[in-house]
Symmetry: C2
Subunit: 345 residues, 2 copies
């Protein structure tokens, strides 16, 4: 954190960068002895014997990854959510994070206080701690970069490439809420009731990384991924790296009441729900013999885990645009999705 305080002091007109860190960020680090109260050059983190560090980094840019006027709470929740979701997809237990934040002078004490307040809530919810960071000035949009650190028992991390022909494909929670929420936020779902719109927008604004599910999938799932690109694309990533074709029954893909209401009014939104991003659910595969174990896990976590398809053997998959995901709708029509995205219904 030493360097954190250097550049704004020299380059920014913000008068109290030192004080902001001391007041709002250092308290987030106080429970971690290896954070050295954010006063040293780097942080220390112990990784228990027999475990392996899992690390991921994600940056968010105002106007690109969230609206320019997004609330500080939502920015913080999204920043933590997207990163912990990546750890969850590996089956890792999150431990700590470091964060770099590039601020313009438009972001005052009130904004930072609310941002840090949400970080504190997220820390409590996920038992993680800030251990280091960098606060810099920018003339451009707010840019936040978080690196999340977790661990998993050696050799037990969940990978994308472990699915085998015959494996069942599951997805957690409900799909499409976040992308429909973003649409609703922009006024793009006319006629959708306020309650449904708020439910969708809430899912967009405050992603819930499936950390406990990821932990529960270690030793159970053959492959896993978080649904960030969109269900079809992400299942496609698993299929491609596993050299399989994913057969998906789109009618089994779980939609929330709000998403169902949106799709009922605007049937074309079903495609958007299936292919839009930012859900941060987990998609995973298991061998058919483990179906009951998945049911038990869903009950224990009180989280729907829905079987939506199956992996099929394939040759030459993912080369030259050969589709890796095959979907059928309720009418039995087959729909093909290409590697780099999807084909329209």
């Amino acid at each position: 954190m030493g360097n954190s305080r250097r550049r704004p002091k020299r380059r920014s007109k913000r008068p109290d960068e030192f004080e902001l860190i001391r007041r709002y960020f250092a308290p987030l680090a106080k429970s971690a002895p290896g954070a050295f109260a954010l006063t040293d050059d780097a942080a220390a983190l112990s990784v228990a014997p027999g475990r392996r560090l899992i690390v991921t980094t994600d940056a968010l840019v105002a106007g690109v990854h969230f609206p320019d006027d997004e609330t500080p709470r939502s920015v913080a929740a999204r920043l933590i959510g997207v990163n912990l979701s990546d750890l969850a997809a590996m089956g890792a237990r999150p431990d700590a994070y470091v964060m770099a934040i590039a601020l313009t002078r438009n972001y005052g004490v009130g904004w930072i206080k609310a941002f840090a307040g949400e970080l504190k809530r997220q820390q409590k919810a996920h038992r993680i701690t800030l251990i280091g960071g960098d606060t810099v000035a920018t003339d451009g949009p707010l840019t936040v970069c978080l690196t999340a650190l977790g661990s998993v028992a050696k050799g037990r991390e969940l990978r994308r490439n472990g699915a085998r022909a015959g494996d069942l494909i599951f997805v957690s929670g409900t799909i499409g809420d976040a992308t429909l929420g973003l649409l609703a936020l922009r006024g793009g779902i006319p006629g959708l009731g306020k309650r449904h719109a708020e439910a969708l927008i809430g899912r967009y604004r405050r992603p819930q990384p499936r950390v406990r599910l990821g932990l529960g999938l270690v030793g159970l799932a053959t492959a896993a991924i978080d649904v960030s690109d969109g269900l079809i694309a992400d299942v496609g990533h698993v299929a491609e790296t596993s050299r399989c074709i994913a057969e998906i029954d789109v009618d089994r893909v779980p939609l929330s009441a709000a998403a169902r209401a949106a799709v009922a009014r605007h049937p074309r939104l079903r495609e958007r729900a299936l292919t839009g991003g930012d859900d941060y659910e987990l998609a995973f595969t298991v061998t058919p013999s483990r179906r009951k174990a998945v049911t038990a896990l869903a009950r224990r976590l009180r989280l729907p885990l829905t079987e939506i398809g199956r992996m099929r053997r394939a040759q030459g998959v993912g080369r030259g645009g050969v589709p890796v995901v095959e979907a059928r709708d309720g009418a039995g029509h087959r729909i093909r999705f290409a590697k780099a995205g999807y084909r329209h219904f």
Copy 2:
């Protein structure tokens, strides 16, 4: 790295983000099995038993931390340099890094190729490997955020707070070159010859993190810090956290031939050399009994390690503006530097 490829695809007009990652960044990760070829949600890194992870993050913003038109090689060298310097200050051996990069469309294939090429050189020089990242679009200045991961034997990390009264203060290399280099780059040192100007600018553009020195100081130094804020401020950080007063003989502070030439022409630049940042040398303290060990280390590393002062006992240091650094010049005049920066000569 999974998420890396998500947002630009959706939000950027750049046509070949996938391809850029595959072609330029994935090769940087190929030697690290835990990077999973940048195709999974997160990376894995083993920390050897008996060692502790050391982690630091630093972000650089174009127009703030380097000129807007800085070369891609210089941006990459600086990004690696500033982060590894933080690890060096902790005595850590660098292992790997993750990187998030926010690009506008102004940065084309040529820029990214040169940037990745310099990363490759840095990787080879420091035996580190890219293991994950995120490539996103921005409408603002180029912003790069790197998180460096290293390790140190448990309990052996160098801290800022370990200096004791009587300890000798040393600094590596030469001081002030980078800040004078930035000044020269802006045409601010009239009359300085081209050769000297280029030497200073090179030091600004391509920081050399003192990784081997940091490793050599483990078990030898009582405290260490990297000189990023400026020598006086950084020695002040050590003094303050160690509850000492640092007595510095400014005439013993090592200046390069180029810096001496600049100061000879413009005597006021001596102050700038002592207080300007970005040198990325290490300042450290040792007990007087280890002076010879420092000399031996300097010889082994072929790196000047210069004794510049001594720590003195202090009470109430660092509270309410009590100076933590006391300096004398050759004429015996005492100069006081305040906590948050320095007082003018």
